[in-house]
């Protein structure tokens, strides 16, 4: 979704906050019970769509972005608390109900959604406005009560004080009166020098619930009379149900009903285990006439043939073909990237309660209003008749941001098939999840470059072959321009290096395997091919990889900033400590994604048997203002681990159209014994903050591959990295 973020969100964020607050204001004020201010049982006072002050002196911040681990339930309230001058301990967090008007994502709406590392960037002004407006209304209420001018009142740590007399009141005591105040005409935001919370390490708001087992995920929802549904899906994408025999299934104790739905056959039971056993006993005959039967090998063969021909141009400067023909030295390389499953720890699930003219949903979704509309469509309702309770997502990495809302639609189809007789909890098993598609697409890249006699890059030609993530979805019209899906080429088409003749082109393929964005999207593959190829060119030119990059980045100070910081902290150029019987090497990579800049230096050891260990990763990040440095560090650490899973192990392969992997034994995520030491350094910056959920991932695989080359002289161009046969 890179490129969708307006260069400055400042004005839209202000405008939208004011519109939303005005729109919501009247209705919310009516909702406040006319009680004595400060009464312990007073109703909460809604000051605007993002801020509710409760009589018990807590403040509830309504967060429009799902918490899937990336820290939105900590970062978003920090912005509100800062401008309100609230005490961090009094802040509570609640997920927003699905509402595209009030909770639009200002970076890529009109829709409520979380993705493209936009949460902080699109909320930075909006939520500070919300906090500042709430503060002004509390001050106005106190001024009225004390009959003193507003500017004689100070606010600190959730307490309003009249400076001259020392009179004090907490937020809670003034909540109801504050809600009756008009929205202030002029909302002023703090100067950065006055920040008390932004830039500090504040404890995560979800830290306790997630360590004592009380945090609620979709899979934990239990409603009276609820049935658990498992669905038998076809073994090949594009197949449909021809017929089924449930005679053994209905004999399983606990199984209540078996229904056919568009995506398969659903078994509903009183609990998971009964539904699972019922599904195991089900016999389904599939109509595979329209099914995909291609395997990964055949797909790659097709892609290799396509790569021999020019594609649609994504970026062209100078004349790459001529410059390549006239180069003193030419280097060519090809790179292969497999399909990847997101495999979040919580497999896909969704709870739906359908009452004929209303539907209530429980889920941890990234695209709330997309799901809302899709579910409404299935049930013949209007979107506003579908309400969504936003729960924690047990990981997502893009999987719960599906433009076609696959599993939410499936849950609604089941509810429809049983005419809403019972609430339904759809649960996918790990195997369903692993084989359920919506993968990071398989890609083939070819790169060619020319060097002059002095070792300078004169030509760069980069061709990418693969499926479009947005083709056939509502995002296609919004994103695809001149036949280029930017999510296929981002990172390659935005190459920052100063190269006079440069061509990036794309073949968009149509393959019957469902694909989706996967943490850092296009940069999952473009960072690898560009940053390892650049290392090859540096070696061919006889130059140090760091110096080689520096010379090409003169016009990109933020790339340079992280590159220099990571290199310095890693001790670039200094010898690595010897480890007995191990070849050691250091490699680096730098990449911008979602307007955040990250450089990493990896240190590896390679044994005589080819066993690879990543020992240490030094990471430097520039994401503008560091709102919560500890969350930023956590996201860098996590993205490095997630990226290493793909670099070292990850591959979904198809054979005759059937996915060969099924669970964590043959789709192996990184485990703790493989996790390197990680050091994170944050560039001090006053730029507007940008996201950190994804940008830590792209540099790690190329940094490791470059380190392997430094250690062994071997160039690995395919992921996952394989040193042994």
């Amino acid at each position: 979704m890179k490129g969708l973020i307006a260069m400055s969100l400042e004005n839209p964020q202000r405008r939208v906050f004011l519109q939303a607050a005005a729109l919501a204001g009247g209705g919310f004020v009516i909702g406040i019970a006319p009680r004595e201010a400060g009464a312990a049982d007073a109703a909460p006072a809604v000051l605007n769509p993002f801020v509710r002050v409760n009589a018990d002196n807590t403040v509830t911040v309504i967060v429009k972005h799902v918490e899937m681990g990336q820290g939105t339930y900590t970062g978003m309230p920090t912005l509100v608390a800062e401008e309100m001058d609230a005490d961090w301990a009094q802040i509570r967090v609640e997920g927003a109900p699905a509402d595209a008007k009030l909770y639009n994502n200002l970076a890529f709406g009109p829709m409520q959604g979380t993705g493209g590392s936009t949460a902080m960037a699109n909320s930075w002004t909006q939520l500070r406005m919300a906090g500042a407006a709430a503060r002004a209304m509390l001050v106005a209420a106190a001024a009225e009560k004390w009959k003193v001018p507003a500017d004689s009142i100070a606010v600190s740590n959730g307490v309003l004080t009249h400076r001259a007399t020392g009179r004090r009141l907490g937020f809670g005591a003034l909540a109801a009166d504050a809600a009756r105040q008009p929205l202030p005409a002029d909302i002023r935001l703090k100067e950065p020098k006055d920040f008390k919370l932004i830039g500090k390490r504040l404890a995560r708001k979800d830290g306790r619930d997630k360590t004592n087992g009380s945090a609620k995920f979709t899979s934990d929802v239990k409603l009276p009379g609820m049935l658990t549904a498992l669905v038998a899906h076809p073994p090949r994408f594009g197949a449909t149900v021809k017929s089924f025999n449930a005679s053994k299934t209905i004999m399983v104790k606990g199984v209540v009903e078996v229904v056919r739905i568009p995506s398969g056959v659903a078994v509903l039971a009183r609990d998971f285990w009964s539904a699972k056993q019922g599904r195991d006993a089900l016999l389904v005959e599939w109509d595979e006439s329209a099914a995909n039967r291609l395997g990964s090998t055949e797909i790659l063969d097709q892609y290799r043939a396509l790569a021999a021909k020019p594609g649609a141009v994504a970026r062209s400067e100078g004349n790459a073909a001529d410059a390549l023909a006239g180069a003193a030295k030419r280097i060519d390389a090809a790179y292969e990237f497999p399909f990847l499953a997101h495999a979040p720890m919580e497999p896909m699930d969704c709870v739906v309660k359908f009452d004929g003219d209303r539907c209530e949903v429980w889920s941890g979704e990234q695209f709330q209003t997309v799901d809302q509309a899709a579910i409404a469509g299935v049930l013949g309702l209007k979107p506003e008749q579908v309400s969504i309770n936003m729960l924690y997502a047990g990981g997502s990495f893009g999987r719960r941001a599906n433009p076609v809302a696959d599993f939410s639609v499936e849950a609604a189809q089941i509810a429809k098939a049983i005419r809403g007789q019972s609430p339904v909890k759809l649960v996918w098993t790990r195997e369903d999840d692993m084989r359920g598609g919506y993968y990071r697409p398989l890609y083939l890249h070819t790169l060619s470059a020319g060097l002059d006699a002095g070792g300078n890059i004169t030509a760069w030609q980069h061709r990418i072959v693969g499926q479009s993530i947005v083709a056939g979805t509502a995002f296609e019209g919004m994103l695809v321009k001149d036949g280029i899906d930017p999510t296929s080429v981002e990172g390659a088409s935005t190459l920052p290096y100063a190269i006079p003749n440069l061509l990036v082109d794309l073949h968009t393929t149509k393959i019957g395997v469902p694909v989706l964005w996967w943490r850092s999207v296009g940069s999952t593959h473009t960072a690898f091919s560009t940053e390892t190829f650049l290392d090859e060119l540096a070696a061919a030119a006889g130059r140090d990889p760091l110096e080689f990059r520096r010379a090409l980045l003169a016009k990109h100070p933020r790339h340079l900033g992280v590159l220099n910081l990571a290199a310095e902290k890693a001790g670039w150029g200094k010898p690595l400590a010897n480890i007995r019987d191990q070849a050691r090497g250091r490699g680096l990579a730098v990449h911008e994604s979602f307007h955040t800049f990250v450089a990493q230096v990896a240190e590896v050891s390679v044994g005589k048997d080819g066993a690879l260990k990543v020992d240490r990763v030094v990471c430097a990040v520039d994401c503008g203002v560091a709102v919560n440095p500890d969350v930023i560090r956590a996201q860098m650490e996590g993205a490095i681990g997630f990226g290493l899973s793909a670099a070292l192990h990850g591959a979904i392969t198809l054979k005759d159209g059937v996915v060969e992997q099924s669970n964590f034994h043959n789709y192996a995520p990184l485990r703790i014994n493989e996790m390197p030491r990680v050091e994170v350094y944050i560039v001090d910056s006053s730029e507007q903050p940008t996201g950190v959920g994804e940008p830590g991932l792209p540099p790690v695989a190329p940094a490791v591959a470059n380190a392997i080359h430094a250690a062994t002289g071997k160039r690995l161009r395919n992921l996952p990295l394989r040193l042994t046969a």
Binding site: M68, G69, Q70, K210, G213, F272, G394, V631, G638, S645
Partner: protein, 155 residues
């Protein structure tokens, strides 16, 4: 009807003897802190203690734990090691999505109960069965060491 001693109480769950303990806990005893992740003892999200030993409840039939003491994430804070681990987890803000963390904490608490001062190798051996897709491993390692110090201080 399975009779189980869970978190110090005798509980009854209306499930067949071959039902995995995980589903008896989650669907019948309202103890949803223990999570389903793989169903094959590959990820550790379902880890509970059986007589103090970290055990994957997704492959443990209820018939195998009759009469044994089952402890879940909801009650592990009552043990010294469990309390120390939870405190350290919060202190270091280990969690991200949080889904695997019940299992991580149960494995870590069992480790510390057995080895109060674990080495890196001990941590690897005890924790490699617990997958975290958010890759919070750097902090898990640090938090176990912090918990070891906390538990020692509380002794």
């Amino acid at each position: 009807m399975a009779k189980l001693i869970v978190n110090g109480r005798l509980r009854e769950a209306d499930v067949a003897p071959d039902t995995p303990l995980l589903w008896a806990l989650r669907d019948h005893l309202e103890l949803t802190g223990t999570k389903y992740g793989c169903g094959m003892a590959l990820c550790g999200a379902c880890t509970v203690h059986i007589d103090g030993v970290a055990t994957r409840s997704c492959v443990t039939p209820v018939s195998a734990v009759a009469g044994k003491k089952i402890t879940t994430i909801e009650a592990v804070g009552a043990t010294r090691a469990g309390r120390a681990v939870q405190t350290a987890w919060e202190k270091l803000d280990v969690v991200q999505c949080g889904y695997c963390q019940s299992g991580q904490i149960m494995s870590a608490a069992a480790l510390l109960a057995k080895k109060p001062q674990p080495s890196d190798a001990d941590i690897d051996a005890a924790m490699t069965g617990n997958i975290c897709r958010c890759a919070t491993y750097v902090r898990i390692r640090a938090a176990i060491k912090t918990a070891a110090r906390l538990a020692e201080g509380a002794a």
